[in-house]
């Protein structure tokens, strides 16, 4: 048990992590469901570039569940007039809730956005099934809104999963709605669905 705790600690130290990171001392609650995972997270941004929290992850294909510590690090942000770009390093480490085997996840996320366009690329590795997952997004907001109105984004979400020398591809159109500190994403391609709810407080 002690060795496992050391291993988790080592993974957390050696693999800087994740997304999202929010304002200093801000808290985030995040639920996401995609064809591969059910994912629930709660985190606190200790600084404006480091968030740490808990994560409950369920692999929908293998029916395995994991209790993880999630560690997100904003490595670099480029703040410009009317646009922003980010580089995040992501990691989670913890245990399989059934057999206590150690599980880790590392990743990298880059994005650029202005008031109407957004591009995002995320790469992740999951140790429990030795899989690599790539998520790419192109997004467009049909109109600009001010602080108090609901913002709508139309997103083309493309993911590729590599596992056991096999690739799986998937495209899902997603609609993102956010207002104030609440964000909801809904997507479906007929066979698969996508759902995210996030709030900051």
């Amino acid at each position: 048990m002690i060795l496992r705790l050391f291993a988790i600690f080592f993974i957390l130290l050696s693999s800087i992590s994740a997304h999202p990171v929010i304002f200093k001392n801000g808290k985030v609650f995040w639920i996401a469901q995609n064809p591969s995972f059910n994912d629930i997270r709660f985190g606190i941004s200790k600084t404006s570039n480091w968030l740490i929290g808990g994560r409950f992850l369920e692999d929908r294909k293998s029916n395995e569940t994991f209790a993880l510590i999630n560690n997100n690090y904003l490595a670099k942000r480029w703040n410009n007039r009317n646009s922003q770009a980010n580089l995040y390093l992501l990691s989670s480490a913890g245990m399989n809730t059934k057999n206590s085997e150690i599980m880790g996840n590392i990743g990298m996320h880059v994005d650029w956005e202005d008031r109407q366009f957004m591009v995002m690329q995320m790469l992740e590795y999951f140790s429990h099934n030795s899989s690599f997952v790539s998520n790419s997004r192109l997004a467009y907001s049909p109109y600009k809104v001010d602080y108090n109105r609901m913002s709508i984004w139309l997103i083309a979400h493309y993911s590729v999963e590599y596992q056991n020398e096999e690739y799986r591809h998937m495209f899902i159109p997603v609609i993102r709605l956010f207002k104030g500190n609440y964000l909801v994403e809904l997507g479906s391609n007929g066979n698969n669905s996508f759902l995210t709810f996030m709030t900051h407080f």
């Binding site: 929010i22 942000r77 001010d146």
Partner: protein
């Protein structure tokens, strides 16, 4: 000489209006207010963190705007209502913006009947670059 006097007169009128300009938008700034141009503030979730940060400070007059803070995402600025009794340190305002994850480009503070414009120098240190500025970037 007449032209010079006219120039001084117009300049004086400009001061009394207390207007500043951010991204070509004219903003009226009253006594005990500050206007901050925020780089990277592209969405309401970004702005939410900035509002939360100022809500925890001791220099904001929450009776004006929304809890003392008004956000304009189009022109990328935040307007703050400052407590009259507080002689604000501009670094405190910059710290709140940076703790939210964003950068300050320009800062205007109108206190003690003086409007001062601040900008960061090459070392990233906030410097007053003009006093009683009006409608100038």
């Amino acid at each position: 000489m007449k032209n010079f006097l006219l120039f001084i007169l117009l300049l004086g009128l400009g001061f009394s209006q207390s207007k500043v300009s951010i991204q070509d938008k004219e903003i009226e700034i009253n006594e005990n207010e500050a206007v901050v141009e925020v780089l990277g503030m592209v969405c309401s979730m970004c702005a939410f963190g900035i509002g939360e940060g100022f809500a925890k400070t001791d220099f904001i007059d929450k009776s004006k705007f929304t809890d003392g803070v008004s956000v304009d995402i189009d022109a990328q600025y935040v307007q703050l209502s400052l407590l009259e009794s507080t002689n604000i340190n501009p670094e405190k305002i910059v710290q709140v913006i940076e703790d939210a994850g964003y950068d300050v480009n320009l800062l205007f503070i109108h206190q003690n009947e003086k409007l001062t414009k601040f900008s960061k120098d090459k070392l990233g240190i906030l410097q007053p670059i003009a006093s009683n500025v009006s409608n100038k970037k």
